[in-house]
């Protein structure tokens, strides 16, 4: 396994500003969070490690794809143990392509208890996830369980506290109609496979996802019928129109798709996936697309 040690320090500090031009030579300076030797009463049990988009496969062994789907740049990681005892906490910080992507990977799994860590945090069964700026954080008690709750939250708060703020929840997320929406189901994404994890629409890239295309999926209760709304934003109207045409032809053909109703307004395409009354479905589409952008 290829890995590389990162700098370690006695305090959790931010060494450099986030991608700000260095006054000396005008070159961007990499922002490097330091996972300290001690944090919240826990001692590092070894040096920190850093992984890139290639080596991450070895570290999280088969689960790297979710992070790569959000443009993972690197992951810094360190393990901690208490002064006495054999418990262990693993801290992983993933630098994503943008704050929107950090929010996105955070939103991919939001079941759990909302906690005030970073720009959004969730705790469940010994695991804290949070996002802040372009960073997605994971603080994980390998022993699991609620007993680790306070330790995990303390470590998470200390780590998140040293990261720079930056970026808001993507504006596309705020366009999701909020009535009868299950807020814990909202996921921001750029990948067909991430979409399929929330609602399976087929093995291909039906909506033409790519780096310039962003989307949100959420689950709605339409008169007792559970449906998903997918809202996709394209870089220009031509791209949106082209995908709309393909979706119409594809879904209209005898094929392998779930029941789906699609609509478009400018660069926005919306699809309601699942069976509900026509009025309810069209009402949701109207609300999602109303006004365009």
């Amino acid at each position: 396994m290829r890995s590389q040690r990162i700098l370690t320090g006695a305090l959790l500090v931010v060494l450099m500003g986030g991608c700000a031009p260095d006054e000396g030579d005008g070159m961007p300076v990499e922002y490097t969070p330091v996972l300290p030797d001690q944090v919240a009463g826990w001692d590092a049990s070894g040096p920190g490690e850093s992984y890139d988009a290639e080596t991450i496969y070895a570290y999280i062994d088969g689960h790297a794809e979710v992070y790569l789907a959000y443009g993972m740049q690197r992951c810094v990681s360190r393990r901690y143990r208490p002064v006495d005892g054999d418990a262990e906490i693993v801290v992983d910080l993933f630098e994503m392509a943008s704050p929107a992507d950090a929010y996105g990977v955070f939103s991919h799994d939001r079941a759990g208890e909302t906690v005030a860590v970073g720009q959004g945090g969730i705790f469940r069964h010994g695991w804290l996830s949070f996002w802040k700026g372009s960073w997605y954080g994971s603080v994980y008690a390998t022993g699991g369980g609620e007993d680790a709750r306070q330790d995990v939250l303390d470590v998470g708060a200390a780590v998140a506290g040293a990261l720079e703020d930056g970026g808001d929840i993507p504006s596309l997320v705020t366009r999701m109609p909020s009535s009868v929406l299950d807020p814990a189901s909202v996921c921001y994404l750029r990948s067909p496979q991430i979409l399929n994890a929330h609602v399976f629409v087929g093995g291909d890239n039906l909506f033409g996802f790519g780096p310039e295309v962003e989307a949100v999926v959420g689950k709605y209760d339409l008169g007792g019928a559970a449906v998903h709304l997918v809202l996709v934003q394209y870089p220009d109207e031509t791209a949106a129109e082209m995908v709309e045409r393909r979706v119409r032809e594809d879904v209209g053909a005898e094929g392998q798709r779930p029941s789906m109703v699609v609509g478009r307004n400018g660069v926005l395409l919306a699809a309601v996936i699942g069976d509900a009354s026509n009025d309810d479905v069209e009402g949701l589409l109207e609300e999602a697309l109303g006004g365009g952008i």
């Binding site: 022993g143 798709r257 069209e282």
Partner: protein, 299 residues
């Protein structure tokens, strides 16, 4: 604003292609199976013993070995485990035991050793038997292997839906991401590689403490494993995995108190059969033999 309602409804989706795969594995049955039940073509043995995993989580290795041999005897419908193992290996074989060492939930070393000892009992030279996972491509025994035995625990997986026996062969591929498209749909293609084709004679899916849900980058929480205390043993990897998938799906529904489909759908199992001819996933085509402890079997 333009709208378009597609003519394909959910029922149609489930009848064909990948939708059919997902539905079949989740126990709802495909259209084909409900209309014309297939004659069972693959025998699969599910064996469980309550005492094999203690309340403290400790594994009884001797009991596990005994379970394996009972399953083998039943699988091959012979009168002794010795005869059963001779259906899998011969003294002249070079045998690679493909295990799984994922640190959170690995194949128990006790099971690896049980398989190894049975293979040697048949007459295979000890130097012609190796157990390996991530080093199979460099392992000299695996490089000249004539027979492979495949074993791993069943667990959920972020990208393929499930970590299965079919997926366990990914270490024979230099670049695993090449098989990651469409929720790892092409995994069955690996089994057509020269290193694997025709060599995998036995699949043992470890169901001692399966993992039915995963969270976070490490995809593991003790909250989401449970002591099922079983093994699923078969020659057909698709039938073995499909049987495990049905159990895991049932556990998810039970735990969450509502239907909670394996996500993403583990359609690589059905596709390994329908596209790559590795076996059958339709429950109607699987001759499921149940041995041992029957409580809370979920299938």
């Amino acid at each position: 604003m333009k709208k378009n309602r597609g003519s394909v409804n959910r029922r149609d989706f489930f009848k064909i292609g990948t939708g059919a795969a997902a539905a079949g594995l989740l126990g709802t049955g495909s259209a084909e199976s409900s209309e014309t039940p297939a004659a069972p073509t693959s025998r699969v043995v599910l064996i469980r013993e309550k005492a094999v995993v203690g309340e403290d989580g400790m594994l009884d290795g001797e009991m596990l070995h005994s379970m394996l041999n009972r399953a083998m005897t039943s699988l091959f419908e012979v009168t002794s485990s010795g005869k059963a193992w001779k259906q899998v290996v011969s003294p002249k074989d070079v045998v690679g035991i493909k295990t799984n060492v994922w640190h959170n939930l690995r194949t128990p070393p006790e099971l690896e050793e049980a398989i190894r000892s049975e293979v040697i009992k048949v007459g295979v030279k000890p130097e012609d038997v190796a157990v390996d996972d991530r080093g199979v491509l460099e392992n000299p025994v695996f490089q000249r292997a004539t027979t492979l035995i495949n074993t791993r625990p069943l667990r959920t997986h972020n990208w393929s839906g499930l970590g299965t026996c079919i997926k366990n062969m990914i270490m024979f591929v230099p670049r695993p991401p090449e098989y990651h498209a469409d929720s790892c749909a092409p995994l069955g293609a690996m089994w057509k590689l020269p290193e694997l084709e025709g060599k995998v004679k036995l699949n043992i899916l470890v169901m001692l403490t399966p993992q039915f849900h995963g969270v976070g980058p490490h995809s593991f929480s003790k909250e989401y494993i449970w002591p099922y205390r079983g093994l699923i043993v078969g020659v057909d990897p698709v039938a073995v995995d499909a049987t495990g998938a049905r159990i895991l799906q049932a556990k998810r529904d039970l735990y969450f108190g509502e239907p909670r489909p394996i996500s993403p759908p583990a359609h690589h199992i059905e596709i390994a059969g329908s596209r790559y001819g590795l076996g059958v996933s339709d429950p109607a085509a699987i001759d499921l033999v149940r041995l041992g402890w029957q409580d809370e079997a979920l299938i």
